[in-house]
Amino acid sequence: MTTTTPWRKIWRKAVQMGRLIVGVPDYDTYVEHMRRVHPERPVMSYEAFFAERLEARYRGGGGRCC
């Protein structure tokens, strides 16, 4: 079964929400963005991405440009 059922969609959103609530945005979206916009730059692994977001959450404001 590879078709996405409504329940799968809801579950995926719930997981995304759960992660974003603690400050971790969607990793797949990040990878997709890097491939599309910055193909020349290295893409962080999920572990590195997670650690980077964790530091960013408590850095105390100040967004950065990409």
Partner: protein, 687 residues
């Protein structure tokens, strides 16, 4: 045809809402079911959302679905990410929902449930949700800039500094008062103290697990943490019952305050992944879960409200906090009706992730409605308690005496008949030695929740488990706020101090970090300690200060909204932010004035200082002080609080004046003068 049916449907719904509200408001002398309150709230929120938020979106903010948001313009996959609106709603709600909406309504219940209900419902529709929504809407047109940056940009750098100082001050007061809530809940409660203490090793374990064993597995580690938490609630009961273990976790307020201060320092200088982040995960999920649990419990149990609709304490003589309904009700319930704090979230992470301008309505306005619903639930949880029990828990010793006999006699005299047995019995049921003088909201809410859940699920001795679960839930997320707040406060102090002495600004310098952290911990620690040793109980001194500070920030945020509306040449709609802004300015200034210059020493800091100074001059010890030293401390604290209160008032007045000046300047210009980013069509953005 569909349109007519729709209009008819909304009219019927509005009548239903009015009927529910009427039932809540007009039933006197007999108890009503909490379901009426819930129904009235939901109806008000739905109507406010459908009509008023739409009006603001279309006319005032003119949100445009074709306009690219910062998430698209600056997409970096990290901070700026276009995000599904439901996912973002969860994020935003989790960020704005704190302890505030749980504490304020519980304290305000002393005046009966009706005044609080009306203020929460109308406050949120016309003030709180408007603020959150408008700030979000303005921030997405300005690259997701923060409140401070927007104030600086639109009203000049002087008002920017004023806003920054205001934010820092409210932060210190909020940390102190929240830490005080925890101290009040844990004083001489081995069960509670053990459970809360266990969250530290659990968090360390989770931190190590997330860092080295299974990096980034948030769900997994949160489930493990949650199971361990429940286990520690259960073990806590055993510890409290054991005569050799219990004394190890039995502390008075002073000791607990010092522990919290030390803990706050450690947690904010340790690496975040070790302690702060895992506790944050645990407390955030626990918070959301418990709010859902509370909602389910209220729906299933449909309890009766025991508290009268209006009590005699609207005259300002109440034991929980002193002062008349106006302005003090509107200061006591800040979060839940309108909370200035939210303007920081609405101009923080949320605007950077909004995928479409139109969705700001659901996230900003809708998110705040949900918070108001939490406040209504907290009010219900406090109002289903027997009023005698409520007053025994929330009144300071100075008002009701130190024993159950004295307390029951005093409270019965007020007209809320209660026997000493009931007070002892309630304490026994929840597994505590006493329920007296546990002001601060958390314990009251916990007893209410425990009674609700126990009523549904039953089980021998389960009431005590639910009580300590509820205490743990509040303590955990309050302590997370304290850690994270200390860190943020440290950055703010470094930024402000950096204006005077640049090397302090270096956030990577160990020395500058420690200095700023010590300054931050000392600031809130001072007020916490002062609250703990305060013979009046602390909460009734600090909570109004917090309320004034929070509403002051809301007044600043709404003033900014007024300024921008005028700068955009949309003066016709100035009343949308101006009415709540004026209301908050009037409330904070009146409350501040009374806190300074009222004749009643119970209300006014200065009158109280004078009263005790006069006593001191005659060498008399006035109750509740027990020694001349305590008298001196009361006098000194009163002067500190009065100074702070005066500063808050100055900030409000300064911001209002800056606002008026900018508005007058903007009116002289024929062109719109707001600093919006230029329009970029969504269609031109790469998909």
């Amino acid at each position: 045809m569909g349109n007519v049916v729709g209009k008819f449907g909304w009219a019927v719904f509005a009548i239903f809402g009015a009927f529910c509200l009427g039932t809540v408001a007009l039933h006197r002398g007999e108890t009503i079911n909490a379901t009426w309150l819930v129904a009235a709230a939901i109806a008000t929120f739905v109507i406010g959302y459908r009509f008023y938020s739409r009006f603001i979106a279309e006319r005032v903010l003119r949100l445009d679905a074709t306009r690219a948001t910062p998430a698209h313009l600056r997409n970096d996959g990290l901070d700026y990410v276009p995000t599904d609106k439901w996912v973002l709603y969860g994020h935003h709600f989790a960020a704005i929902a704190g302890a505030g909406p749980l504490v304020g309504p519980v304290l305000a219940a002393q005046m009966g449930y009706l005044p609080s209900t009306l203020w929460i419902l109308f406050g949120v529709v016309f003030a709180g949700a408007v603020q959150d929504f408008m700030i979000l809407g303005l921030s997405i047109r300005r690259d997701g800039k923060s409140l401070g940056d927007m104030v600086r940009m639109e009203m000049g750098s002087a008002s920017g500094v004023v806003a920054m100082i205001g934010v820092l001050m409210i932060m210190m007061i909020i940390l102190a008062v929240l830490a005080l809530v925890v101290v009040k809940a844990l004083t001489h409660s081995p069960w509670g103290t053990f459970t809360v203490a266990m969250t530290i090793p659990i968090a360390l374990l989770m931190g190590i697990y997330l860092r080295w064993l299974r990096p980034g597995k948030v769900l997994e580690v949160s489930v493990i943490g949650f199971v361990l938490l429940l286990l520690s609630v259960w073990i806590g009961g055993k510890v409290a019952a054991d005569p050799s273990w219990a004394p190890l976790f039995d502390y008075d307020g002073r000791a607990l305050a010092w522990m919290l201060i030390a803990y706050g320092f450690c947690a904010s200088v340790l690496p975040v992944w070790l302690l702060l982040a895992p506790r944050d995960y645990l407390s955030t999920f626990l918070k959301i879960g418990t709010i859902l649990l509370l909602a389910a419990a209220i729906f299933l149990a449909a309890p009766m409200l025991q508290m009268p609709a209006i009590t005699r304490f609207i005259d300002g003589s109440g034991p929980v906090f002193a002062g008349n309904l106006f302005p003090f009700l509107f200061i006591t319930i800040a979060c839940g009706a309108v909370s200035g704090w939210h303007s920081l979230i609405s101009s923080g992470t949320t605007p950077k992730m909004l995928a479409n301008e139109r969705e700001a309505r659901m996230i900003g306005y809708g998110g705040m409605l949900m918070e108001a619903f939490v406040a209504i639930m907290a009010l219900i949880a406090a109002s289903i308690l027997q009023p005698g029990v409520y007053f025994a828990m929330n009144s300071p010793a100075a008002a009701i005496g130190g024993t159950v006999q004295e307390a029951a006699a005093t409270i019965s005299q007020w007209g809320f008949v209660v026997t000493p047995d009931v007070l002892t019995q309630t304490a026994r049921e929840i597994g505590e030695n006493t329920i007296l003088h546990r002001a601060g909201g958390a314990p009251t809410l916990a007893v209410g929740m425990a009674q609700l859940l126990h009523g549904i699920l039953g089980g021998e001795g389960m009431m005590a488990f639910w009580y300590h679960y509820a205490i743990l839930f509040e303590a955990l997320f309050i302590l997370t706020t304290v850690d994270a707040g200390t860190r943020v406060g440290r950055f703010m102090i470094q930024e402000l101090a950096g204006l005077a002495y640049p090397p302090l600004k270096k956030t990577e310098s160990w020395g500058a970090n420690v200095i700023a952290t010590v300054a931050c911990v000392a600031a809130w620690g001072y007020f916490l300690y002062q609250g703990v040793v305060d013979p009046f109980g602390g909460i009734n001194t600090l909570w109004p200060l917090f309320g004034i500070a929070n509403q002051m920030l809301a007044a600043i945020a709404l003033t900014l909204c007024c300024v921008i509306v005028v700068k955009l040449k949309r003066e016709r709609y100035l009343w949308v932010p101006a009415v709540p802004a004026l209301w908050l300015i009037v409330c904070t200034l009146t409350a501040g004035w009374q806190k300074l210059f009222h004749d009643d020493p119970k209300i006014s800091f200065l009158a109280s200082a004078r009263k005790f100074a006069a006593g001191l001059a005659e060498g008399k010890v006035l109750a509740p002080a027990k020694s001349l030293e305590e008298m001196q401390r009361i006098i000194a604290n009163n002067y500190v609080d009065a100074t702070l209160c005066g500063l808050f008032m100055l900030l409000v007045v300064a911001t209002a004046l800056f606002g008026v000046r900018t508005i007058l300047a903007a009116r002289r210009s024929a062109q719109p003068t707001a600093h919006e980013e230029p329009y970029v069509a969504m269609a031109t953005m790469a998909r």
